[in-house]
């Protein structure tokens, strides 16, 4: 399924300056794998060393936080919008 992934400003430089990228995948995890294969510079910002979701990245499917869905296993339907937003955090 092709999905539209919306990238935050800070990550666009690693995706040829694009704000949205169309990627194939049946789940968020597959979409992310395809995304980091296409744009390897994004890997360290999106995934951790074990291939899980980076601790400080929020991902939304149609405005729902995937941590409250099924995480990287969340299924994608045709035309779903995926947004990536770095978390706002600190100490």
């Amino acid at each position: 399924m092709p999905a539209e992934v919306r990238l935050p400003t800070v990550l666009r430089a690693q995706a040829d300056g694009q704000a949205t990228v169309a990627v194939e995948g049946a789940t968020i995890g597959e979409v992310f794998s395809a995304l980091v294969t296409q744009y390897p510079g994004l890997r360290g910002n999106l995934l951790d060393d074990q291939g899980g979701l980076h601790k400080f990245v929020n991902v939304y499917k149609n405005d729902e936080d995937i941590r409250y869905l099924e995480g990287l296993d969340t299924k994608i339907d045709d035309g779903d919008d995926i947004s990536i937003l770095p978390a706002v955090a600190g100490g």
């Binding site: 400003t9 800070v10 929020n58 939304y60 978390a87 706002v88 955090a89 600190g90």
Partner: protein, 154 residues
């Protein structure tokens, strides 16, 4: 902006002041006391010019601290997206955030500085509750360097 002859290309200008209304100041500081003893946090919606904050804030929006901790904060991901959508609807942007330091100065911690790299254009407000009177200060964090931005109360 290429049309600005006084500015070197690619250089973003920090606002001279961050402008907060009395009621925005009260929302921010009030949220910090409400959240105590945990750290409190929120987002500022306002305007950007050429990717840099103008210093104008239209809304101070308290958010839940997902970390629920007195030492760290993480803005609830749902509150963050809701703030972004609200900003988009009025043609504005998220221009910064605030959080409280319950027992330390109103100065960015090393964690605050490193996390700021995700949003390098934002204004970072810290409210210290260390003393009897709250202390609110604003900063830009540019390439890891902390620059204080004076806060003008309107």
């Amino acid at each position: 902006m290429a049309s600005d002859p006084g500015r070197a290309p690619g250089v973003k200008v920090a606002p001279a002041f961050m402008r907060l209304t009395e009621s925005e100041w009260q929302v921010v500081v009030g949220s910090c006391y409400d959240g105590y003893p945990e750290e409190a946090c929120g987002l500022f919606i306002g305007t950007m010019n050429d990717g840099a904050p103008t210093g104008f804030v239209s809304e101070a929006r308290p958010c839940r601290n997902e970390a629920a901790s007195s030492l760290v904060y993480r803005i609830d991901g749902r509150d963050q997206l809701a703030a972004m959508r609200a900003a988009e609807q009025r043609g504005e942007e998220i221009v910064g955030c605030w959080h409280s330091h319950t027992h330390t100065e109103a100065f960015p911690s090393p964690t605050d500085v490193s996390q700021a790299a995700w949003y390098p254009d934002w204004l970072y407000v810290i409210v210290s509750l260390k003393d009897d009177a709250p202390v609110l200060r604003a900063y830009r964090v540019i390439d890891g360097d902390v620059h204080e931005v004076p806060v003008a109360l309107m």
